[in-house]
């Protein structure tokens, strides 16, 4: 019996290389845990017994590669990342029968390294939401309290990792969809720099904001997965030709003399006091470890939500136009109907309320006569936010603050108030607008629920984020705490 709570990639790799356990056995355990957790947390949309076992057998037949830490490791993949031959739904009715004919670049890269995909994790429909409650496939529960939301949109990935069901998972982050669920579940989630990881095969939500990233229990695991999925991709020309370093190198250097900026806006009124306390204590630890901490300002971050919901929804309104019931996915096709009827019925029945809300919002913002007032203005605000960060980074190495405005809230509590739901993204959205990398790690607990510390770095400087995160993680040993339920 492998207890993922007591393992990391290094320890699992050692067991695999030493033949203490085979890839098939490890896969079986992950499959069993995934299945037995479903009734409690519902983290998966699809669990691929057959495919995973076949794949594990192949890896065992070839033998574990001792130089490759991901060889034989079970992974969970967010269900908006396409997997060849394995149903990929984006948690939407409109794709509930969609079996891709190709692999996303990140999947190709990970398969090359010998991972085993256990299944596809639950999420908000088309990644639109912060609670995994807009999924067509039911709600996912928080790993620490099954009456709370796991956050979103990568709620299934976060909850499954935090519940010890799977060692690592991939998520995607458009406005906080990796960091916020990582915070709510007390794990490590990184949104890479825009252009670090290929989006080829990621079902688009907001193309200028989306990034795929890892959700893991430890900082070092996270660094290893990021290195595996990063790099310039000819098929995604928004990826940049940046070298991919070994992100674990220098991870132990410590934070002495690290120049940390703490934005005052990240501790403004309206942010949960418990969250503030936990995060302030964490920052104080950095100070006592020799880091130089001072208050900074990101004056335009308060406009982030407004700009984001215009830009992301505009892009989404266009990205989701391809779901028309003609070539793939759900179709309301009937004999004798008009083309317009096919479109209207397919999209009316196929999309959920939140997706429709954002399509309408985006369509409106792009409409003739409104473009300048909405889309263009939002794009200008985006530039101001980019400049805010650039200014702080002129004399700081890293920015710290809370990841979320509150700890995980009750399932169902915010479903009728979309604006309140959108406000949850206040602290994560500015990074997406600026294309910056950001991570959430567990900073402690308030009322028994994890609180995320957000670590924001310069573009393509994930290494400093990992170093910063590792120092606190090792100091606090919080990764040894877990929800206590063993599936």
């Amino acid at each position: 019996m492998t207890d993922f709570f007591n393992e990391n990639l290094t320890s699992l790799h050692k067991k695999l290389v030493d033949k203490e356990i085979s890839a098939t056995e490890l896969t079986k355990e992950a499959l069993n845990k995934s299945k037995s957790s479903q009734s409690e947390i519902n983290a998966f949309i699809t669990i691929d017994d057959e495919g995973a076992l076949k794949r594990a057998a192949e890896i065992d037949a070839v033998g574990i590669d001792p130089d490759n830490i991901l060889s034989g490791i079970p992974f969970a993949i967010k269900d908006n990342i396409v997997t060849k031959g394995l149903k990929t739904t984006a948690a939407s009715h409109i794709l509930d029968n969609f079996v891709p004919v190709y692999d996303a670049t990140v999947i190709e890269k990970l398969n090359e390294l010998g991972i085993v995909t256990i299944g596809k994790t639950n999420m908000d429909e088309f990644a639109m939401g912060g609670s995994t409650e807009t999924s067509y496939f039911g709600k996912t529960a928080n790993a620490w309290d099954h009456t709370k939301v796991p956050g979103g949109s990568s709620g299934g990935s976060a909850s499954s990792v935090a519940s010890g069901v799977i060692p690592v998972a991939l998520g995607s982050d458009t406005g906080g969809s990796i960091r916020q669920p990582a915070a709510f579940n007390g794990i490590v989630g990184l949104k890479p720099t825009y252009g670090r990881v290929s989006r080829w095969g990621l079902i688009a939500f907001g193309s200028s904001l989306d990034q795929i990233g890892p959700l893991t229990r430890t900082v070092e695991d996270n660094a290893r997965v990021l290195a595996a999925i990063s790099g310039k991709d000819q098929r995604d020309t928004t990826t940049e030709d940046q070298s991919v370093p070994d992100f674990t190198k220098g991870i132990k250097k410590g934070v002495k003399d690290l120049r940390i900026g703490v934005p005052k806006e990240y501790f403004a009124k309206g942010i949960d006091e418990g969250v503030k306390d936990v995060v302030k204590k964490a920052i104080a630890k950095y100070e006592s470890s020799g880091a130089k901490v001072d208050e900074v300002s990101l004056p335009h971050s308060k406009y982030g939500i407004a700009a984001y919901y215009i830009l992301a929804s505009s892009e989404a309104s266009s990205n989701l136009e391809r779901f028309d019931g003609i070539r793939y996915g759900f179709s309301a096709r009937q004999d004798g109907q008009t083309l317009e009827d096919l479109y209207v019925r397919t999209r009316s029945e196929g999309f959920g309320d939140e997706v429709k809300r954002r399509i309408m919002l985006g369509t409106f913002a792009l409409s003739a006569g409104f473009y300048d007032a909405y889309f263009k203005k939002a794009a200008q605000v985006r530039t101001l936010i980019v400049n805010d960060f650039a200014k702080v980074f002129e004399n700081h190495d890293i920015i710290l603050g809370p990841t979320t405005t509150s700890p995980a809230f009750d399932l169902g509590s915010e479903n009728d108030d979309p604006v309140k739901m959108y406000m949850n993204d206040l602290l994560t959205i500015p990074l997406n607008l600026a294309g910056l990398p950001g991570m959430s790690i567990n900073a402690g607990f308030t009322d028994g629920l994890p609180v995320g510390l957000q670590i924001i770095g310069k573009r393509f400087d994930e290494s400093t984020i990992y170093k910063t995160a590792y120092a606190f993680e090792q100091d606090s040993q919080l990764f040894t705490k877990h929800p206590g339920v063993n599936f």
Binding site: I81, V82, T88, A90, L95, F98, P100, V101, Y102, A104, R199, W200, G201, L202, I203, A204, G206, S207, S208, Q234, R235, D236, T237, T238, S314, E315, S317, S318, E321, R322, F323, D324, I326, R327, Y328, D335, G336, L339, Y343, T363, L366, S367, A368, Y371, F375
Partner: protein
């Protein structure tokens, strides 16, 4: 004279001859089985991303340079959103805000000898849509082979003032584009398509009249006919006190008229915005320089070369450069050593007549530059007569090698004096009257005698040699 002036603007789509599509690696090829040249990008599958074809943008730059346009330095792509089954992403990627070229012109030469500059507002690179066909069985079929094929759309300024000018503009535009080599510009294959906007207004009116759009124009002649009809219709409407509606009409070829398709109530809202999946492209001075230096010789440069180097007339040079195929063909025949003047005569005369008769394009015939030059060289060196060449020409249009054909059919010209002299003396013996005429100073007689020799030799005698021997033999008598 009419008291109205006409305003015409043309939007011309030119399909580019790139190897692969504008944003995917699928091949660009006309006429393949449906959906053969497609991949996940062309299908608009979830998760796919476009990659911009550098060649398509360079083709756009070549067109811009050929049309004397300015090149935009920072180009981003835009999405034009609309739902239709031949448009799988439900948006077309285009250059709405930053067209690759702007503010150019095309110079047309009018019948009266004057010339006029037609302004080019802009030209942009974009992707073509697929093709719907209606099965007639209650459903439609979609072929995505054309989906994503790169296009250049060339938007003229509305300073075309008559159907004739529109025709001349289209001809010149086709020639300019064709000589860059970026497109076949064939209306019948859809690699060149024309959308027309036309309005009329009383002379002196400040505002333009309401513009009417005309679709379904499949040839330049149709465009001219459609414009002529529409110009008159709008004048008549205005004279009758009616208001011109903002509408889309289509050209009906059998009646040479335009027919109302739909009335436009407002502008379509395509919700354009910058394509986030493609980075901004910076066009550097060096890049423009490189593209400029890769531009092939223009039609005008060729005309000048033909006049100066080969002593062709202006008119001959113009005919040879009407299409790139003809001009290239001409150059190849001449490069192969055939006499430039004689080659020009053959292409303008026999070859054009043959193309008209068979309704073929030059590259679709069996005629090759090598065979034509072979035939002309046989004339040049006296092996065959121009009369014999008629037969040889027919043979080379069937793909035969001229020298082999000449030998096989004994078409070799009779030039041997030992053979010709007895024949000529026999003719002279039979035509004392002509000898007398010649001696009496009537030069015409020699023409008659030559004719008789040719008749006797079935046209195979070398006229030059015959002439020499005749003179010599006549002197002896």
């Amino acid at each position: 004279m009419s008291s109205f002036e006409t305003t015409i603007g043309l939007e011309v789509h030119v399909e580019l001859k790139t190897k692969s599509k504008a944003f995917s690696l699928s091949p660009v090829n006309f006429g393949d089985p449906a959906n053969e040249n497609t991949n996940v990008i062309d299908w608009g599958y979830p998760g796919v991303l476009p990659s911009a074809n550098k060649g398509a943008l360079e083709s756009g730059m070549m067109a811009a340079l050929a049309l004397n346009a300015q090149i935009t330095r920072d180009v981003h792509w835009d999405r034009k959103n609309y739902f239709y089954p031949d448009n799988p992403k439900s948006y077309q990627v285009t250059q709405q805000q930053t067209p690759i070229g702007h503010d150019g012109y095309v110079e047309i030469k009018k019948e009266d000898g004057t010339s006029k500059r037609i302004g080019i507002k802009e030209l942009h690179v974009e992707e073509d849509a697929g093709k719907n066909s209606h099965s007639g069985k209650g459903y439609s079929l979609v072929d995505l082979n054309r989906q994503g094929t790169p296009l250049v759309e060339i938007v003229s300024q509305p300073n075309i003032s008559s159907p004739d000018e529109a025709y001349l503009y289209l001809e010149k535009l086709r020639q300019l584009i064709q000589f860059t080599g970026i497109s076949d510009v064939k209306m019948q294959e859809g690699s060149m398509r024309v959308d027309i906007n036309i309005s009329v207004r009383p002379i002196g009116a400040e505002k333009y009249g309401t513009k009417v759009e005309i679709k379904n124009v499949n040839s330049f002649q149709y465009a001219k006919n459609a414009l002529a009809y529409e110009e008159q219709r709008q004048r008549d409407e205005l004279m009758a006190g009616h208001i011109i509606g903002q509408e889309t009409r289509r050209f009906d070829e059998p009646t040479k008229s335009t027919i109302l398709m739909r009335v436009k109530e407002g502008a379509d809202d395509y919700r354009y915005f910058p394509e986030p999946d493609l980075p901004v492209i910076h066009v550097s001075d060096e890049w423009i320089k490189a593209v400029k230096s890769s531009l092939p010789e223009t039609a005008d440069d060729r005309i000048a070369r033909y006049i100066n180097k080969f002593a062709l007339s202006k008119k001959e040079a113009a005919v040879l450069t009407q299409t790139l195929e003809m001009a290239n063909f001409y150059d190849q025949v001449v490069d192969d050593g055939a006499d430039p003047k004689r080659t020009a005569n053959y292409l303008i005369g026999d070859v054009n007549a043959y193309l008209n008769e068979t309704q073929l394009d030059l590259q679709d015939t069996k005629l090759t530059p090598g065979h034509l030059s072979g035939m002309i060289k046989l004339i040049d060196n006296g092996t065959i007569s121009t009369k014999q060449a008629k037969k040889v020409f027919t043979a080379i249009t069937d793909g035969e090698e001229p020298k082999a054909y000449v030998e096989k059919n004994g078409l070799v010209q009779l030039s041997d004096p030992n053979k010709l002299t007895p024949i000529i003396n026999q003719i002279l013996d039979d035509n004392q009257q002509s000898i007398d005429d010649f001696k009496g100073g009537k030069d015409r007689a020699i023409g008659y005698l030559t004719g008789q020799v040719m008749k006797k030799t079935h046209g195979n005698a070398n006229p030059k040699i015959v002439h020499e021997i005749l003179l010599a033999e006549l002197k002896k008598r």
